[in-house]
């Protein structure tokens, strides 16, 4: 272990490019001149829409995919040249229910992976028990995984990712399909990982999750890094661009709402249905009041979508997205 760069960043990605061959057409660029640095003990969010390149980055870091060009290193070790030494440093967790042996019990699954991460029999047993306890699965340790709920499988996934005592955790949409309670428990777990000094790269579509968990957030789209921000910027964007949806709104009322301060746009989404976009914190409130006073009851608010936040992020600094 003496060769591992203790002072080196947990993850350092420079000018990373990955092209995929497509049938007939030109190669598809999944990552484009991507840069990223994650410090030890940092929880770093990677936020981006579908197809942004998040999983591609995780796959390159986990040594199962080669970059087309550029470099990626984990604690100073190159993921291509030093793949063998990188692997023991990493824990990999991806969302969904796959990646577990359904017929084996939770404990057996963990013992299996413990062996693959170089632990002996007794050590593996101990680590498995410890981790099951940590993710709250100890009472179900000896039941086959196929009898588990989705959330329980997710927690087992997380335990599996920790079996090799990794310095860096790659979490690729780990909360997909988790209920809010599980997702909340998951956040506590990530907090404790940070407290143990492990670096976490957390991939997600969920802006609220990124805001709550991360020390820094990188926005990725079309394989490019748009911005790397403090998550508070994200929280501010979320509240500033809150939206109001309403049905049964007469045209005259819609016009009145459009004239309210802080209302950016009123879009008609169907006959009498509107979507009000705001661009100032607190602007949603007078919109709601006006609607309710006019007798409209089918009203709801929602945070902006990731795409809208992206547009605002890009718009603010005039950064152009690749076509």
């Amino acid at each position: 272990m003496s060769h591992i760069g203790i002072d080196a960043p947990a993850v350092e990605v420079r000018a990373l490019v990955r092209d995929f061959r497509t049938r007939g057409g030109p190669p598809r660029r999944a990552l484009d001149a991507f840069d990223l640095t994650v410090a030890p003990g940092e929880v770093h969010g990677l936020l981006g829409p579908n197809g942004a390149g998040k999983t591609t980055l995780c796959k390159i870091l986990s040594t199962i995919l080669l970059p087309t060009s550029g470099s990626a290193a984990v604690h100073g070790l190159d993921v291509v040249a030093d793949a063998k030494r990188v692997r023991p440093l990493l824990g990999i967790v991806f969302g969904g229910e796959r990646g577990l042996y359904a017929r084996m019990t939770a404990a057996q699954n963990l013992r299996f992976w413990a062996a693959l991460y170089g632990l002996g029999r007794r050590e593996g047993r101990r680590r498995a028990a410890e981790l099951l306890d940590r993710v709250g699965l100890a009472p179900r340790a000896d039941e086959p995984v196929e009898t588990f709920s989705r959330g329980m499988k997710q927690r087992l996934h997380l335990a599996r990712g920790l079996v090799g005592d990794p310095r860096v955790l790659l979490l690729d949409e780990p909360t997909v399909g988790m209920d809010p309670v599980s997702a909340h428990e998951f956040r506590d777990l990530v907090e404790s990982l940070r407290a143990e000094g492990r670096a976490v790269l957390l991939t997600t579509h969920d802006m609220a999750e990124a805001e709550a968990l991360c020390d820094r957030v990188s926005f990725i789209d079309g394989g490019r890094l748009l911005r790397c921000e403090d998550p508070r910027v994200l929280g501010e964007l979320l509240s500033r661009h809150e939206r109001v949806r309403a049905a049964g709104v007469p045209a005259a009322l819609a016009e009145r709402i459009a004239a309210l301060p802080g209302v950016e746009r009123v879009r008609e989404t169907g006959p009498g249905a509107v979507l009000v976009e705001t661009d100032r914190g607190g602007a949603a409130l007078p919109v709601l009041r006006t609607l309710v006073e006019a007798g409209v009851t089918d009203v709801s608010t929602a945070p902006p979508t990731l795409e809208e936040v992206y547009l605002h992020l890009i718009g603010e600094r005039g950064m152009a997205v690749r076509p």
């Binding site: 040594t63 080669l66 577990l100 084996m104 992976w113 062996a115 991460y117």
Partner: protein
């Protein structure tokens, strides 16, 4: 790396897979009944021809090839790793995927030996093949050798099935068909033109079957051992190809991205 621990865990994981295929009841009343029917069918053909020699030939051929048949299923079960979505995790683990993929389907060797031996020993008296205790024990040992060596062939097909997933059923079926047709199951290998004989000689199960025939026919031990030796020698070749092919699959996947998270 702690290869023993990896092997032990892998074998356990494979064993739990077997329970997807059979419960003890479905094994006894589904699979074993099928096996016995198949062997009875072939042997009866011999009886109908009124040729006791031919009857015994067919009996041994059909019974021993059950072991080959069953170990060829290693081809399919190698790809089950994709079903559980663990391929990417194996590729990213320090121990790598080759040991796991190579060892996970071992249980077919066990079940193949058992079903093939039961068929041979239970039906031998029915179709006039007298076996002494020593011969019976030798036959079981040689059936095991056949299953063990043919596993390498199944593994080879399995690694190709992983790589060429769309053709996953083609390889093992093609090999099994060739072995059954030219491998001395129904008619002796020497029945076929020389080119085919050479071809048949590449398959361990063909030599394993020959060894069983020699042993139950009372041939000298040296002759039996020579046949077994050929089975292991050819198996070593298949194993080398299988290992190379698994390495190739892993390396290739890294380049093309054909292993995804969740695969």
């Amino acid at each position: 790396m702690n290869a023993i621990a990896v092997l032990r865990q892998t074998m356990w994981s494979g064993w739990t897979d077997l329970r997807i295929v059979y419960t003890p009841t479905t094994w006894a009343f589904g699979w074993m009944v099928r096996v016995l029917c198949q062997v009875v069918f072939y042997s009866t053909l011999g009886s109908l021809l009124g040729d006791p020699e031919r009857t015994r030939y067919l009996l041994v051929g059909a019974a021993v090839f059950i072991a080959a048949n069953e170990t060829m299923m290693a081809s399919a079960s190698t790809t089950w790793e994709r079903l559980s979505g663990t391929l990417a995790l194996l590729a990213a683990a320090p121990a790598g995927m080759v040991t796991v993929l190579a060892a996970r389907s071992w249980f077919w060797i066990a079940t193949g030996t058992v079903s093939s031996s039961i068929a041979l020993l239970a039906l031998a008296p029915v179709f006039g093949l007298g076996l002494g205790a020593g011969e019976a024990a030798a036959a079981v040992a040689l059936v095991f050798a056949t299953a063990l060596t043919n596993y390498a062939v199944g593994l080879c097909c399995g690694s190709l099935s992983l790589r060429f997933h769309r053709m996953r059923n083609v390889f093992s079926n093609l090999v099994l068909l060739t072995m059954t047709a030219f491998g001395g199951v129904v008619v002796p290998v020497s029945f076929w033109p020389t080119g085919f004989q050479w071809f048949a000689a590449a398959f361990p199960a063909v030599h394993g079957l020959e060894a069983v025939r020699l042993a139950v026919g009372g041939a000298p031990a040296a002759a039996v051992l020579a046949a077994v030796g050929l089975a292991f020698a050819t198996a070593a070749g298949w194993l080398a190809v299988a290992a190379a092919s698994l390495w190739w699959f892993q390396r290739d996947a890294r380049r093309t991205g054909s292993i995804d998270f969740g695969d």
